[in-house]
C-alpha cells in the first residue's frame, strides 16, 4: 500500500505547481497593493471595498449571474429530453448520438463561436430566413439573445453527457418494477427515473453554470464591445488596465461565489435524496 501511495508523489507535485500555486498567487494579489519603493507590496482590503461600493461593478456581476442562470435553465430544459432520448435508445444508436454531441467539442470553442458571428450577422443566413417572414430588420448579433445562444450552444454538451451517464447507469429493472406495481409512465418518470438522474443534473449544472458565469470570449464576440460581463471586467483589468491586484480581487470574489453556489446545489441534492429515503 505504501509503495502505491508513493506513486502519487509526482501528481501531488504537479497539482501544487499547476493548481495550488496560481490560486495562492491570486489570493496574494487580491489582498495586496503595489506599495512604495521600500515595501514592494502591502496588505489591503481596498480592492474589495472598491468592488462592493461601486454600483456599476455590482450591476455587471448581477447581470453575469442572471445570464448564467438563464443558460443553465435552458440547458437543463433542452438537455434533459435529449439525454433521456439518447439513454433509452439502442446501444448502436446511443453511441452514434453521443458521438454527434461530442463531435463539435473537438473543434476549438473560439472557432465555433466565430462561425456564429457569420450566421447571426446582418445579411447572414438567419436574417435572410427571418426576412421571408418580413422580419429582415431584426438585429441578431450584438444582443443578449446572441450571447445566450452562444453560451447554450457551447455548454449544453456537458449537461447532456452528465445526465445521459446517470440515466444509462440506472438499473432498468426499477422502471419495470414501477410499471408492475401499477405506476403509469409519468408517475414512473417523476418518482423513479427523475430522482435517480438528479446527480447527473447537478453535476451538469455545475459544469454549465461555472463556465457561463465567468465566460468572457462569448460575450465579447457575440455581444460586442458594449456587452460587458464580469469575465470581461477581469480580463480588462489584467490586459488593458494593468491592475493585477484589482483583477485578482474580482477573480477571488467570483471563485467564492462559485464555491457557495456549488455548496448550495450539493446540499439541495443531498437533501432531496435524503428526504426520499425517509419517506420510503
Amino acid at each position: 500500500m505504501k509503495r502505491f501511495s508513493q506513486l502519487a508523489l509526482p501528481y501531488i507535485v504537479w497539482a501544487v505547481i499547476m493548481l495550488l500555486l496560481p490560486m495562492l498567487l491570486i489570493v496574494l494579489y487580491a489582498f495586496t497593493d503595489t506599495g512604495n519603493e521600500i515595501m514592494t507590496f502591502r496588505f489591503t482590503l481596498a480592492n474589495f471595498v472598491k468592488f462592493f461600493t461601486d454600483r456599476d461593478f455590482l450591476l455587471v456581476l448581477w447581470r453575469s449571474i442572471k445570464i448564467a442562470l438563464k443558460t443553465t435553465v435552458i440547458c437543463v430544459l433542452l438537455g434533459y429530453p435529449i439525454a433521456y432520448f439518447i439513454a433509452f435508445s439502442s446501444d448502436r444508436l446511443r453511441n452514434r448520438l453521443i458521438l454527434c454531441i461530442t463531435l463539435p467539442t473537438w473543434i476549438n470553442m473560439l472557432v465555433r463561436t466565430y462561425a456564429w458571428i457569420g450566421l447571426l450577422s446582418d445579411g447572414g443566413i438567419f436574417q435572410q430566413i427571418l426576412g421571408i417572414f418580413g422580419l429582415g430588420d431584426t438585429e441578431l448579433l450584438y444582443t443578449e439573445g446572441a450571447v445566450l445562444l452562444g453560451m447554450v450552444y457551447n455548454f449544453i454538451p456537458f449537461m447532456i453527457l452528465q445526465i445521459n451517464t446517470s440515466l444509462t447507469k440506472m438499473d432498468r429493472s426499477l422502471t419495470d418494477a414501477s410499471h408492475d406495481l401499477g405506476a403509469d409512465g409519468i408517475q414512473t418518470f417523476l418518482r423513479v427515473t427523475l430522482p435517480l438522474s438528479l446527480p447527473g443534473v447537478v453535476s451538469g449544472i455545475s459544469l454549465v453554470f461555472l463556465p457561463a458565469v465567468s465566460s468572457f470570449s462569448i460575450p465579447k464576440l457575440l455581444g460586442g464591445g458594449q456587452f460587458f460581463l464580469i469575465g470581461n471586467v477581469i480580463e480588462n483589468q489584467f490586459i488593458t488596465v494593468g491592475e493585477w491586484n484589482f483583477g485578482s480581487s474580482i477573480s477571488l470574489i467570483m471563485a467564492l461565489i462559485m464555491m457557495a453556489t456549488m455548496y448550495v446545489v450539493r446540499r439541495l441534492e443531498a437533501y432531496s435524496s435524503g428526504g426520499r429515503k425517509e419517506r420510503d
Partner: protein, 359 residues
Amino acid sequence: MKRFGIICALALMAAGLSGCGGGEKGEYAGQTLHIYNWGEYTGENLISDFEELTGCDVIMDTFESNEQMYIRVAAQDSYDILVPSDYMIERLLQEDLLQPLDKSKLDCFDKLDPDVLGLPYDPDNEYSVPYFWGTVGIVYDKNKVALEDLEAEGFGIFADEKYKGDIYLYDSERDSFMMALKYLGYSMNTSDEAELNEAYEWLVGIVETMEPEIVTDEIIDNMAQGRKALGLIYSGDAAYVISENPDMGFYLPETGTNIWSDAMVIPKSAENPDLAHEFINFVSSYDGALDNSVTVGYTSPNLEVMEYLSGEDGDYYGIDAYIPRSGNKNDEVFSYDPDTRVIISDLWSRVKIAASNAG
C-alpha cells in the same frame, strides 16, 4: 501545422534560389529577415519581390495591437524590423529597445512626404522611417447625415439624439478619448485628471443615451454596406469604405484630430540590421510603397505614390480620406505617458461597463 511550416520554408527557399539564379543582386542570399508587422498590412507582392531582389528569406509574424508587439519585443524576441505606432515607438525609445538607423545605408528620406517626417516621437528620424500614416475621423452616410450637422457639431454629432441607435464607436481607449478630449477643446495628450474625467462623463453620456455599437474592424465592412449612419474610423479604412460605397463620406472635425503614423524601426536585438536597412529602402521606394498602399488602402508616406493614387488615374481619386489633412493647428500626434495610459484604460473599461448596464 509543422508540416505546413516546412512546406512554406521550402517554398520560400525555392523562391529565394530562383531569385538568385536570375537576379543581378542576390547579395543577401541565404540570409533571413525577421519582420514583426500588423496583420494584413503589406502589399500582395511586397515580400516576394523583396526576396527576389535580395535573395534573402523573409519570415513575417503579425500582431494585432501595439501592446501585443511590445510584450514580445520587451521579452527580447529577435526581430530585424518592427512596425509600431508613434506612441509605441516613443515607449520603445524610452525603454532603450531601439537602435539608431545608419543613414548612410538609407536612400529614402528625399522620397517621403515632409509632413510625416520629424514628428515629435522621433524629431530627427534617427530611429524610424514611416510606413503608413493617416488621421482618425468620422465616416458618415451622405444620405442620412447632413454635412452642415457635422460642420456645426464636429465629434459632438455622436451625442446628437437624431442619430440614436445609428452609430458605431471604435473599441480603443486612445481613439475614444482622443475624440472626447478634442470635442471638449482639450489636448488629447492631457494628463489633467479633471479634463480626463470630463471626457469620461461625455463618453458615458453617449453610451447611455445613444445606444452605440462598440466595434473594432467590423466597422469597415458594415459601413461599406451602409448599415449605420455614423462611425469613428481610421482614414485608411474610410478610403476603403468610400471606394466600395460612394454614398459614404469622411469628415475631420475642425476641433482637431489625431495624426497617427506607423513606422519601421530596428530593435536592439536585431540580428541582421544591414538587411533591415535594405528592407526600409525597398518599402519606401516607389514600387514597394505603391504595392503596399494599393493593397492595404492606407496612405503612403512616399509623396509620389500618394500623388499618383489620389490623382486622376489612381485608385483613390476623389477620396479625400486618402490624403491626411495638414495645417490644422488643433491636430496632434500621440505621445506616450505611462500614468495617463493607465487612467484612460481604466476609464474606458468603465465606459464599456456603463454601456452594458444601460443596455
